[in-house]
Amino acid sequence: MKWLGKTALRICGLVRRPKLDRDLDDELRFHLEMNAAHGKEQKRFGNATAIKEACRDLWTLGSLEIWWQDLRYALRVLRKNPAFTIVAVLTLALGIAANTAIFSVVNGVMLRSLPYPEADRIAMLWTSTPTHGVTERPTSIPNYEDWRTQTRSFDELAFYADFNHGVLAGADVAESEMVWYTWTSPNFFRALGVKPELGRAPTDEEFSRADRVIVLGHALWQRQFGGSPAVLGRVINLNNIDFQVIGVMPPGFHFPEERFEAWAPATASRWWSEYRMNRGRGAVSVFGRLRAGVNMQQARAEMTTLAAALEKQYPLANGMSSVNLVPLSVQILGTTVPFMLTILLGAVAFVLLIACANVANLLLARGAFREREFAMRTALGASRGRLIRQMLTESAVLALIAACVGLPLAALGVDLLVRLGPQNIPRLSTVTIDGRVLLFTIGVSVLAGLLFGLVPALRMPASAVGTTVRRSRLRGVLVVGEFALAMLLLTGAGLLIRSFIAVLAVDPGFDPKGVLTLRMSIRNPAQIREAMDRIRALPGVQAVGTINGIFFEAGPKAIGVGTFHEVEGRPMEPRDQWKPLVITPNSGEVFRALGMRLLKGRLPDDRDDERAPPVVAVNETFARRFWPGENPIGRRFKSTFLTGRMEWITVVGVVQNLRNMGLEKEPVSQMFPSDKQGKPGAHLLIRTSTDPLALIAAVRDVVRGIDPRGVVWEIGTLEQQLASQTAQRRFQAWLLGLFSAIAVVLAGVGIYGLLHYSVAQRTREIGVRIALGARRGDVVKMVLREGMLLAAVGVGVGIVAALALTRLIASLLFGVAADDALTIGLVATLLLMVACAACYIPARRATRVDPMTALRCD
């Protein structure tokens, strides 16, 4: 209460300020007069201003008022030095914008919780086979039932089966399309804690009755039903099953992945009756919501015990199986994205540090000109603390102005990041600048302001002797630091750019130009053939074929000679020597469409039908692995791959390797049967002599001509598919390249500013030298030497730091070592050239010093 009264008094003091000032003056004047009257020396009286200030602070809201004063003063100072202010603000704004933009992504993708209540209590539960390093397998329904009834760690244990897509059609559907949907357990929505925005979720009764009811996603509802509430109760046909629509989920609900747009009880599926009793058949992905008071660790322990008991009970189906708990957020985020974002965040932090060093440098240079001002204010009674406070206020104001300029820049950056970011960053599309980002920006700005403000402020002299020397040494250190950081960033960027170029140079094993790829809803092999024939007849089409995908990101089934049984004339391989092997269904002229070369023998074709002996073409890796240095044509191996029966399969051809594991991995063994002995591939490839995308409408017409409800989807070109392989690298390389370019420019500006100032200070010395006969070249050399020494030291420090730190990104590199001498050398040369150019301008200026003017000044 006392405090309140005092504050009230002080606020009154603020209002009565002029009167209080007058009274204080009178009181002190009286004191002086009394001193004079009694013959005391005046100088014993202390600093009148200081006394007044001390008294005034008591009466008024001293600190607040001083703060306000400082603020106005700071704004005035900044306005009076527009050149300084603009350079400083722009420099900082760049740094702040980069940090804000990247943090927005980190915030939206990593920090913001998932859109489910208490999302951190949801976990995925995978079946695992730790001995084989398999961590995330689907779970069989009988095992799921046992988990659900026995667990005490989870309130709800739900599941989904996400391998489904099908054509959505029906009288009320606007246009039939391919829709991804999942089969769910009855408690699916309960476990996630999300309710439909319209209608309801399936009930337990509907689940046990196997009712064909379905809940739609918001976007699908908007697209196909114009957002009409009348959709409830309508019947739609999805994947040839009639469903009654009972609910619509709110916008932004995507589970388990963004592409899924409909959810139906699993009992209504065709596979339910078959899988529900089959303990060996992994069918569903299980997730659960932790019971209150149970943590992830405890749940993991309980489930592991539970799984061990089930393994013992059902050794045949559950042999070597355990359970693997993964928090949902971790599952969705994966591991590569957080790593990449952390690196980007580190990079922008470096950029900001360099910007801070630059501004600190500017402030130090200006501090020299302000020495007189500070001396004056000290004489007038300002304490050192007060002056430091003043300088820090100025820095903070500068930083906040920079934040205001930087924010729109950051918004632009976020927009670009969202649009250009690779597909594999989850939730990237929802990234915005929210309250937390704003707080971050303000925090970073103030911190930056303190950082670059504190250095010059603490360097502020108590007395002015010898400070110029100290100051220029400090400025040199700042420039060295800038170059070291720029070197570090540039090395990282250089290594990633070289990796990117190396990946681009990888031969994918096919010719991506002019190829349209899409999927058709037609499944019947005869109809697929007919569609291919009709498409082949379209103008400009050169080859048509199907293949079951080109890149196997998910990792193929690892098959060795075990299931393969035996290769003619070779002993069985021990299990630990087995290598992955993929069998790729295909049909038509797929090798022509891909532009793949046949190296030996022939391709399987229509002659190789159901009655003919089974044959395959194999890739180079396959041939080298089993018949190194021999002709593989005509060799045989025993397998059940094609028909399910154990039979001898003959190799009839060898084709060029496809980079089937992605561009950055060595291809694994691969074999291609004929479609009559295997089956057609899922992806249609059409090589054209014209623009492939112009063909889409015609292909769609062909498909509709064969099946009126037929649709085509996943439409794109092979070039786009190839580009998506390198999207993340491109993103990384561009961003790091951009950030290091900013860093280099800032470092260049930094050294330029330092030399510019130094030349201005040494005008007289240079004048004398010229007067004494120094040639222009000598002067240039002198200035250049000063600058280049700093740059070289900085680059040297940067190289040492780079050698230590680039190891951290070794896992991101491809085709280049983390300590690649060429990259480091190139980058160092580039940086030194920039430094040289930046130094040359002030050096030239120095040569133009007129000795007479120089000697006369002062």
Binding site: D23, E27, F30, H31, I51
Partner: protein, 112 residues
């Protein structure tokens, strides 16, 4: 900052006590207070203006003393301070603790 140590620098708090004590003799202005302390202490204690006036204003804010403008002995307008009830109470407690402290120090100095 080389000041003559023997003139005695007043520790904050001690100055407050001395000012309060001085004002028990009746209202007084700042200069008068400083003079009184100086004289009574046989010129040992010198009150700096830089400490005195902020202290007076602070004590006034705390309600230990009150002020009014009046005419000085030489007919000048001067600000006079007087003790309030709260000030009297504060003086009593401070004087007591001072006596205890100085007594204790004196005893230590005599025996050691």
């Amino acid at each position: 900052m080389g000041r003559d140590k023997s003139t005695g620098e007043l520790v904050q708090g001690t100055l407050d006590m001395l000012v309060l004590k001085t004002l028990t003799r009746g209202t007084q202005h700042g200069w008068g207070i400083a003079q009184f302390i100086h004289k009574i202490s046989d010129d040992v204690l010198r009150v700096e203006e830089g400490s005195l006036y902020p202290a007076l204003h602070r004590m006034e804010l705390e309600g230990l003393i009150a002020s009014e403008w009046g005419l000085s002995e030489n007919n000048r307008r001067a600000k006079f301070y007087k003790l309030t009830a709260a000030g009297r109470k504060r003086l009593a407690t401070e004087a007591e603790s001072w006596n205890r402290l100085s007594g204790a120090i004196a005893r230590v100095m005599q025996t050691a």
